[in-house]
Symmetry: C2
Subunit: 354 residues, 2 copies
């Protein structure tokens, strides 16, 4: 996380001093166009992208202070980085490659130019890492707090696109990376924020939780998995990114395809830090994986014939299979081998403590 | 305005009852896909648009309660309509045709499902009128008030696109419709809101201001002008929509092209209601036209050779011409024929009272 290490800016320029157009000018200078497919970026009424015979894929995400993030644990530069990741993860979830982003921002007058700079520095770091152009957006004052809207644009050939609805009977269910860490990272950060509120001199040792905190504050979009699947010659039959928890995403794929999904508790990939910290918080680690959001891992289905191509890859884990048309969705528990029906969780729901 | 007449919904369903996915499902049903160029709409991780050999044009706008609109005069259905108009006007300003929109919405818990329905009804009415597909977005709770982000997507052939930077020496400066009405409509509505605050039984006679209020509450995007210019065989050399006032937009075109712009006070198109009401408010009507935002008329430049094609059209007015490279921008006043330098106005600035 060193490059994104939070710097406390010393100078304080009010946004009124620089003005809306000054701010846009400054953003434009910080994000020069890099991609051939960007025909026109910041500075006109609209941006223009060009993918020749490829399809344009577009997604938009709204992030609101106090709902999606809190300054008590989120450094502003990390927020910029994470906002980009959140946006492009949806493009990856179509098996497409993200190329451009647009950023709309509502800022209250308690923000300084330096704070906005930090936000854009985080975005710039993400744009460089993921090879993206920032091509436009909107800036506005806000009555209270920060509001961000991210629009992500990408491309894919038509036969490479993966919809939520494409899963077929007997397909294998695959997940990238490991799950539950981002949720537990948030629990750790919120606990420390509470302690610091009571004792401002609190100097917590967060080293044991470094992996969890990084997953929460600086998650990654799995653009690498999209490339990996292309390299392996695997076309996913359906795909989604894990933003609301594994359980909710499986139910989406099941609902859209019309097939039942069955997964195995013992197959769900968990980092040792997740298992250890879940125990400390007295939460079942599987519950963290099933219900914890903001993982940005990819969940997808593949034809059984493709199993040989992926089985040796440490980034991919087969966690179950697609069952019959109209069947329910189940988790098969370890040991007792019970079939537990999978349930979705709604708006702002969090895993329950045991 | 009859179809958009505000209906007071009787039933009150909390959004928690229906949930995020229920709300998305309901929005999806209300906006069936109409266009061939919409490959995939609501319900996957991202929407997909397809313009074959045309270019994809994309813009995004953020609207925040208390900044861009106020419930004291804005019926929620009109807000939905206006939000769509605001978004697609930027696509028109590229001389492109708007085709799809994406809507992200942050809603506080004081909103009912019926209020959200009214908002989408206004959007639906705009989508039908302008032949648009609503293809996706994001829904979220908000801490305070309503936050909307609109992303508009359109298409044009590459040689039809009009950039802000394209104006050439001696080009004519043209504006569609008339100016200043939306600004004065806001003044009238704010005055009535103040009176109603003091006397809740206030029954104002708004008929004399109907045109102004309609321009404020139910503006239109000039998609018709894009078609008209095509029909007339006129390719604008540069173009912008008037969202921050004529003066600010002229300065944008001047800055991007590097040429000076000179306009004539007597040529600026004003509706008689604007002249009469400006007098009542003791504001110069030209000031309303120069500085009043949210007109959504198109400001563009054309080659002098195209003058014959447009001169008879009541929707288009030539207001001046492009001067020399690096020259200043001027308003030539009527009568005294003084050259007054044009100035831009910043964030949230409004015309000064005389």
């Amino acid at each position: 996380m060193s490059i994104l290490e939070d710097q406390k800016p010393n100078s304080k320029t009010s946004l009124a001093e620089i003005g809306e157009f000054g701010l846009i000018e400054q953003i434009k200078e910080g994000f020069p166009i890099q991609l051939d497919s960007t025909l026109r970026g910041i500075g006109d009424d609209a941006a223009i992208v060009d993918y020749g015979n490829e399809k344009t894929v577009i997604s938009t995400d709204l992030l609101i202070e106090g709902v999606h993030f809190s300054w008590s644990y989120m450094p502003i530069r990390h927020l910029g980085y994470k906002a980009v990741v959140t946006a492009i993860s949806d493009i990856c979830a179509m098996n497409a490659v993200p190329k451009q982003i647009m950023v709309s921002m509502g800022i209250s007058n308690r923000f300084t130019l330096e704070a906005v700079d930090e936000l854009y520095n985080g975005m710039k770091y993400a744009c460089e890492k993921y090879n993206l152009d920032l091509i436009g957006g909107d800036t506005s004052s806000s009555v209270q707090g920060l509001v961000l809207n991210m629009t992500a644009i990408g491309s894919a050939k038509e036969d490479q696109l993966a919809y939520r609805s494409g899963a077929q009977e007997n397909d294998l269910i695959v997940v990238s990376g490991d799950l539950g860490a981002a949720f537990l990272g948030l629990q750790v950060l919120e606990r420390e924020a509470q302690v610091t509120k009571v004792n401002p001199n609190n100097q917590p040792d967060l080293d044991p939780y470094a992996y969890l905190i990084e997953r929460q504050l600086k998650p990654e979009a799995r653009v690498d998995i999209i490339q990996l699947l292309k390299d392996l010659g695997v076309q996913p039959t359906s795909m989604i990114d894990i933003s609301d928890g594994l359980s909710a995403e499986l139910i989406h794929l099941s609902k859209e395809s019309g097939f039942g999904f069955t997964i195995y508790e013992e197959k769900i990939p968990l980092d040792p830090t997740v298992i250890r910290t879940a125990e400390e918080f007295q939460i079942n680690p599987i519950t963290c994986a099933l219900s914890g959001g903001e993982e940005f891992e990819l969940l997808f289905t593949i034809n059984q014939g493709d199993f040989e191509k992926i089985k040796a890859n440490p980034n991919l884990t087969v966690i179950g299979h697609v069952t019959n048309k109209g069947a329910e969705n189940y988790l098969i528990t370890t040991g007792s081998e019970q079939m537990v029906p999978l349930r979705s969780q709604g708006w702002g729901a969090t895993p329950e403590t045991e």
